[in-house]
Symmetry: C2
Subunit: 459 residues, 2 copies
């Protein structure tokens, strides 16, 4: 996201090493922009630059760096510097870093932190990756229900410097159970003496700590919220997810969906392409590709078992690639539409019948179109092939067209049904990767192809 | 998103038609939830229910309905009801609806609106779909630079009821040129008498009206903003994009990317799966599928021109499906990784050489792995096939393994390079759909396969 010229200017600045200018640069540049600048320079230089920033800004730049860079930097840092970093980072970023630290390193700094911070880290790191609990922060504002509007504003003013957002304040009872929330806009608009109990919005949207992070993020999107409260099993408020973390979760889940769709394993983390080594990429992709190649054995067996037939009708071999591609394409199309609609909550597994009916319908239209195309194709270019005596080209064209039509209908149906079946068993439908589907419909396609051809050509 | 039981309760409520209860239901239920409830019921019933809501709530429920339902409803509405709806909708939703209205309907209501509203509609509908100008709203708060902090808070309190957000206030000069912004948090924390000019943050992130909507939304994500100001060609502030619209833009662009990746045309609108008819789905998918089937002619020609060779080595036909699938899989994997990294701004077209080198590396690893697998496979299961006299199975295995290895390397490289080339010409790299890629690497794969085999088997 950084322009080339600016990057050059920055590198010159670093080479000159003018302390005053570096300090000025750290003050005048937004932390996220500094993080962009330093992404590619040697780790030692990053820390050299950050020494010129205030502890707060340093912690913020650090939070914007990728996890790999963070871990590399931690190795360079002295224990004292690491403790200062931990003290100034926001609770959620700090907890994320702590989870990544080598165990002894983490334990070595814990005793140096304040009791409250230690407990905060312990609480925020307790939840499984991918849950609402793991993305929430503990930097939220609460207000007691008996305050007046003007007292509440005064209260928020006092705690504002430490809180990620004061635009939403959560009203909790003495056991921290969520009673509702007020927005700062409501407080400002309310008569000064009006009690919080009379202003608060009691109908609340919230997430449970163990809820899926994407589900929580989608609530923020649906209800246009700035933040979503997260409650534990005692209905006590334990954190909030902010709107900016929700966007990041949605982007991350999206990358994950695309990668799953293309059968790529791995950590699915944003911005990881360049940082992952070629060997890492290989490992992420090899499993599926090799597995599918093995599954492809079945296709090989089918072709082999029809070898005699194929020798007789060599023209059938010329249409095998089109059969395989078209089946894969139509199957993948309906699978990705269904997976996306499931992910956005637009359809549910219980809508299966309606989806299947719709896809059969689409499949029939597509099947007819492609059968007509294939028929024309065989009639036009089939003349060059060897055809057994007594068989007419039009018969072969009919057989290939029929097989292709059936293949398209079957592939569309399989593509739509597999994600629905997976979703019904409460698994992520995106595991129906497009390459896996391609291999599956290849098998069904070859069976349809050879049996139809053999039947219609009455061999 | 609605639970079955709640939906049943709602339908019972509608059947009973108790006016008081319906009015109560409209008051107690969040507009977005009402929109969920009514999504599937007949249009007349939707409007019957909404008559029981306040004009403000009615307009908000209406905004949450899908464009199709909105247009259907508009046909039922009287001119008077439509004008009331327009008056109460938020500026951006209103402009979106206006753009969809049949021309005479839109013109018929314009004269009944206030001058300011008419101009607002005209301004907001002036920008092309997909630009920052087309998603922005005009409901933002501005403050003059000479106010004090407490005067500014008072000012915001006065205008708050009409504004989508008062948490960011934009400071503009007399020509509406953007000087900076203050957050309500900054105002609350500042000493009461401090002047806005001393508090405002002058280093601003903004979007131009004609900037791509996704680029604008990504700025909100990157800088963790609540809203992004949009300026025109005179540097004047003309609107803002809010954080919730940014999430919607990102979700919409993601759906678009997945659909493009699977070669599905159409409007790519969120939540459109069930609403699109089977015929509509057919039209969205048929073009690409048919086009690719025609492109597949080339594969057919290649196979046909090697027909004699294939008759001699029938075993080669058995490995054609695996060759096609594996090439398609590895090519699609690298294409989707590169497309995603480009979309997230992680790599730029100028990084092409580094990406290509990395992918060649990955391709070599994958190629070796799959060549070994193929070799083993031919040795194990090749025995059943007819082999010309004088040719040993191990020679055939070597030929097939070599061809497959070369195919994987080529496909990985093509998959990585095509999106980069497209991006270099400033087009959306997502047009390199996975099905298109599959068809292209099929052609390269068959050529590699037959030439390698013929060369190594020295026919």
């Amino acid at each position: 996201m950084v322009e080339e010229q600016e990057l050059l200017d920055f590198k010159t600045l670093m080479q000159q090493g003018d302390e005053t200018q570096l300090r000025q640069f750290c003050i005048n540049t937004q932390p996220v922009i500094i993080a962009d600048y330093v992404a590619d320079i040697p780790r030692e230089e990053i820390w050299y630059l950050l020494r010129h920033a205030t502890p707060e800004n340093r912690a913020e730049v650090f939070s914007h760096l990728s996890p790999d860079v963070q871990l590399d930097l931690v190795e360079i840092l002295s224990r004292y510097e690491l403790i200062s970093l931990f003290t100034h980072m926001s609770p959620d970023d700090r907890a994320d870093l702590y989870k990544q630290l080598p165990e002894e390193r983490g334990e070595s700094i814990l005793p140096a932190l304040a009791q409250a911070e230690r407990e905060d880290i312990r609480r925020l790191t307790a939840y499984e990756e991918g849950t609402a609990g793991a993305v929430m922060t503990s930097d939220y504002a609460t207000i007691p229900p008996h305050l007046s509007a003007s007292q509440a504003i005064e209260h928020l003013r006092t705690i504002a410097p430490d809180k990620e957002t004061i635009y939403y304040a959560y009203v909790v009872d003495e056991r921290r159970r969520l009673m509702g929330f007020v927005s700062l806009k409501d407080l400002i608009l309310a008569p000064r003496g009006r009690l919080i109990t009379d202003i608060l919005q009691p109908e609340m949207v919230y997430a449970r700590v163990d809820e899926d992070q994407e589900k929580a993020a989608r609530k923020i999107q649906k209800f246009d919220l700035l933040a979503l409260p997260v409650i534990d099993h005692n209905d006590s408020l334990v954190g909030i997810i902010t709107h900016d973390d929700a966007i990041d979760v949605i982007t991350q889940e999206q990358t994950e969906d695309i990668e799953k769709l293309m059968a790529i394993a791995g950590r699915h983390e944003a911005g990881a392409y360049m940082r992952t080594s070629a060997w890492g990429h290989f490992r992420n992709r090899a499993g599926w590709v090799a597995g599918l190649a093995v599954l492809g054995l079945v296709s090989g067996f089918i072709v082999q078992s029809f070898e005699g037939f194929l020798m007789q009708f060599a023209i059938l071999a010329a249409f095998m690639p089109m059969l395989a591609d078209t089946g894969g394409n139509t199957g993948s199309q309906s699978a990705s539409l269904v997976i996306r609609a499931l992910a956005l909550g637009e359809i549910k597994p219980r809508d299966a019948m309606r989806v299947v009916l719709k896809e059969v319908n689409v499949g029939i239209y597509l099947g007819i179109l492609l059968a007509v195309l294939a028929f024309g194709r065989v009639m036009l270019m089939g003349g060059g092939s060897t055809i057994p005596e007594g068989v007419m080209l039009v018969n072969i064209a009919t057989a290939i067209a029929t097989a292709l039509g059936l293949q398209v209908i079957t592939a569309t149906l399989i593509g739509a049904m597999l994600p629905l079946v997976v979703a019904r068993f409460n698994r992520d439908p995106a595991v129906i990767a497009s390459p896996a589907l391609t291999t599956i419909v290849d098998i069904s396609g070859l069976l349809i192809y050879f049996y139809t051809a053999r039947y219609l050509l009455s061999v």
